[in-house]
C-alpha cells in the first residue's frame, strides 16, 4: 500500500513538474554560527530565512550548518551537502579563506554558489566561474570607497591594518587603490586576534594622521575598546565590517562620529529596504546589519530565479540568476560580466538614535562600482 501511494505521489510530482516550475530548490547554507565570528553568520542566516519566510515559497528548502570559521570543517560540510543531501545551491560562507577552500571545488561539481558575504579577488578575476555569483561585493569594494573618502577628508599619512587572510589583503589593496596620501605603515594581524595593544603602540609611534582598519566581528570590538583607552587620538575609519550594528552595541560611545563605508544602510530610501528593516526588527527584535541585508538579498535572488527557471536546467537557472530580477534592499543592483555586483558604495557616520548607536548615510563614496578584477575574468 505504502509503495502504491509513493508511486502515485511520484507520478503526481512528475506531471506537476512537467507543467509548472515546481521543482523544489535545495539550498545548503554553510555559515559561522559559533566562535568569535558568529554574529556575522547569524545575521546572514536570519536575513536569508526572513526573506524565505516573507516569500512563503514552499519549494525553497534550506539546510543550515555551522562551520565554526574552520576551513577544513567547511569543506567537509560542503562535500556532505553536495554528495549526500544533493543540494542545488550552496551559500552562506562569511570568511574568504573558507570561501577559497569551498567554492572552486563546489562549482566544479556543478552546484551553484551564491556568496552572501565573502568576495575574494581570486574568484572575481582569473578564478571566476559561471556557477559562482557574488551577491554582496568584491572584497576590495568597501575599502576602495574609504580610500577615496580619506582623500577628500584631507588625510595625508594613514596607518592601515587588517587580519592576515585573503580578505585582509584585498582590503588593504582596495584602500590603497584609491588613496593618494602616504601609508604610514601597513600591518597584518592574526585572524581572530583579540589583543591589539602592540599594534596601537605602533600606531602611536608612527606619526600617522589617521587610522584605517578592517577588523570584522569581535576583532573590531576589541580594537575599538582598546584604542579608546590608549590615549591615541588620531581619527579612525574603516569599512562597515568594522562598524556594523553588532559591533556598535558592544563598543559604545567610543565609535560615535566614525566614518565607514557600506553598500547598504538601514536608511537607504526604497520600499524594499523599509519593509526589510521593519520585518527584521519585528521578527528578531534587533536592528539588521549589512550582513543581514546580504543574506536577505541572496534569498530573494534565488527566489526570483525560481520564478523563471527550473534549477535542474542549469543554463536557464544561471541566466535567470544573472538577470538579478529582484528588488534589492540596496536599490540599484545588477551583475557585471564576472557575476559580481555593480552598485553604489556609501559613506556612513556612526550616530546615536535615542539610546541606540547606528549608522547614517552622509554621502556616496563610489557610484556604480564594479570590481577591479573584472577584466581578468573570461566569462
Amino acid at each position: 500500500m505504502k509503495k502504491l501511494i509513493a508511486a502515485s505521489l511520484l507520478g503526481l510530482g512528475l506531471t506537476v513538474s512537467a507543467g509548472a516550475l515546481a521543482e523544489p530548490v535545495k539550498v545548503g547554507m554553510i555559515t559561522t554560527l559559533s566562535g568569535g565570528g558568529s554574529g556575522l553568520g547569524v545575521d546572514v542566516r536570519d536575513g536569508f530565512m526572513l526573506a524565505a519566510k516573507m516569500a512563503g515559497n514552499k519549494d525553497l528548502e534550506v539546510i543550515v550548518e555551522d562551520d565554526a570559521r574552520k576551513p577544513d570543517l567547511a569543506v567537509q560540510i560542503a562535500d556532505k551537502m553536495i554528495q549526500k543531501e544533493k543540494v542545488d545551491v550552496l551559500t552562506g560562507i562569511i570568511w574568504s579563506n573558507l570561501a577559497m577552500a569551498v567554492v572552486p571545488s563546489a562549482v566544479g561539481q556543478g552546484v551553484f554558489y551564491l556568496s552572501p558575504n565573502a568576495g575574494p579577488s581570486m574568484l572575481a578575476g582569473k578564478g571566476c566561474h559561471e556557477n559562482y555569483f557574488n551577491v554582496a561585493w568584491q572584497n576590495d569594494n568597501l575599502h576602495e570607497a574609504m580610500g577615496g573618502h580619506a582623500n577628500s577628508a584631507g588625510f595625508k599619512k594613514t596607518f592601515i591594518l587588517a587580519p592576515n587572510y585573503p580578505a585582509g589583503k584585498d582590503a588593504l589593496t582596495g584602500f590603497k587603490r584609491f588613496y593618494e596620501g602616504d601609508v604610514a605603515d601597513e600591518l597584518y594581524t592574526k585572524l581572530g586576534q583579540t589583543d591589539y595593544a602592540a599594534e596601537i603602540a605602533q600606531i602611536r609611534a608612527s606619526g600617522a594622521d589617521s587610522v584605517f582598519f578592517f577588523l570584522p566581528g569581535g576583532m573590531g570590538i576589541a580594537f575599538m575598546k582598546q584604542y579608546a583607552q590608549s590615549g591615541v587620538d588620531i581619527p579612525v575609519m574603516g569599512p562597515a565590517f568594522s562598524f556594523d550594528q553588532g559591533i556598535l552595541g558592544a563598543v559604545g560611545e567610543a565609535a560615535l562620529g566614525v566614518k565607514n563605508s557600506s553598500q547598504w544602510s538601514k536608511d537607504i530610501d526604497n520600499p524594499a529596504n523599509k519593509a526589510f528593516v521593519e520585518a527584521f526588527q519585528a521578527e528578531y527584535g534587533r536592528l539588521p546589519s549589512l550582513y543581514a541585508s546580504q543574506g536577505f538579498d541572496t534569498a530573494n535572488l534565488i527566489l526570483s530565479a525560481m520564478q523563471k527557471a527550473d534549477v535542474k536546467d542549469a543554463d536557464a537557472f544561471r541566466a535567470a540568476l544573472k538577470e538579478a530580477d529582484f528588488d534589492s534592499v540596496r536599490g540599484d543592483f545588477k551583475f557585471d560580466s564576472n557575476q559580481h555586483p555593480i552598485q553604489d558604495i556609501y559613506v556612513r557616520e556612526v550616530i546615536k538614535e535615542g539610546d541606540v548607536l547606528t549608522n547614517k548615510i552622509i554621502g556616496v563614496g563610489l557610484e556604480d562600482r564594479s570590481s577591479a578584477y573584472v577584466g581578468d575574468c573570461k566569462l
Binding site: N164, R204, G218, A222, A250
Partner: protein, 307 residues
Amino acid sequence: MTLALFIEQLLNGIQFGVMLFLMAAGLTLVFGVMGLINLAHGSLYMIGAFLCATVALATGSFWLGLVASLAGAAAAGAIVEIVVIRRLYDRDHLDQVLATFALILIFSEGTRWVFGSFPLYLDIPAALQGAVSLPGGAQYPLYRLSIIVVGVLIAFGLYLLISRTRLGMRIRAGESDREMIGALGVDIRTLYTVVFALGAALAGLAGALVGAIQSVQVGMGEPVLILAFVVIVIGGIGSIKGALIGAILVGVVDTLGRILLPNFFELFMGPSQATSVGSALASMAIYILMAIILAVKPQGLFAAGSQ
C-alpha cells in the same frame, strides 16, 4: 624603534602574560593536584566575563560585576566539580578530555541560549579610564597597568597560600601523594572542590578583566585556553612558579614577535612581503618557543616533582 616604544611593547607583553597566568594558574593546579585535564577552563573564563557584563549593566558598577564574576565562576567551578569532575579522577585522560569537551559545548550553547550570539557591552570603570605617562615619555593605558598590578598581587597571594598556609600544605601534599594524604585523614574530596573552585575563580576574574577591553561573546574562552595549555607545558605541569614564568615568557615573545619580526624581514625584502612573512612567523613564535623548551627540558621549566 625608540626606547619608549620598546618599553611600551614590553609592558604589553607582560600584561598579556599576566592575564595568561590567571588562566594557567588554575589549570596547572587542577592538573598538578588532581591529575585532571580540564578543557572547560575556558568556559569558566567566559562565565566570568558574562557575569561581569550582566551585573555591570544592571547595577552600573564594574566593581560589583567583578565581585560577581569571582563568586559566580567559583560557584560554577564547585558545582561542575561536584556534579561531573568528581567522577573523572580515576578515569583515563581521554575520558576526562571527552567529558570536559562536552562541558564546553554545554556552557557555550547554554550561554548562547541565555544571552544570544551577539557580543555584550562591558566598559572599564571610570576610575581606570585613559592613559598615564610613563617615565621616558610613553603613554600607557591605566587599565592595563592595573591588570599587571592585579596579576602580580595574585601571583604573590598564591605563593603565600601555597607555601605558608595549611590549605597550601595540603595542596602540595596532594600533588606528591594523593593516597597517602587521604590515608592521613585529610578530606580529599573537599580539598579537590576547593582547589577547583579557586582555579575557576581565577579564570572568571581573568575573563572579567579582559572582557572590559575585548569582546564579551560566546566562544571567547577557547583561544585563551590553548595559550594557557602552552603556558603550563612550558612552565612544567603543576608548578605555579612555572605558570607565572611561562605566562610572562609567552606574553612577551608573542607581543614582541608580532612587532619585531615584520620589521626584521623588512631588512631584506619588500614591505608587503615582509609583513606577511613576518606576521605568519610571529603567529608561530610561541609554538616554536614551546618546541625549543621541550627539546631542552622535556618536563617543562619547573616540573612539579623537581621544585
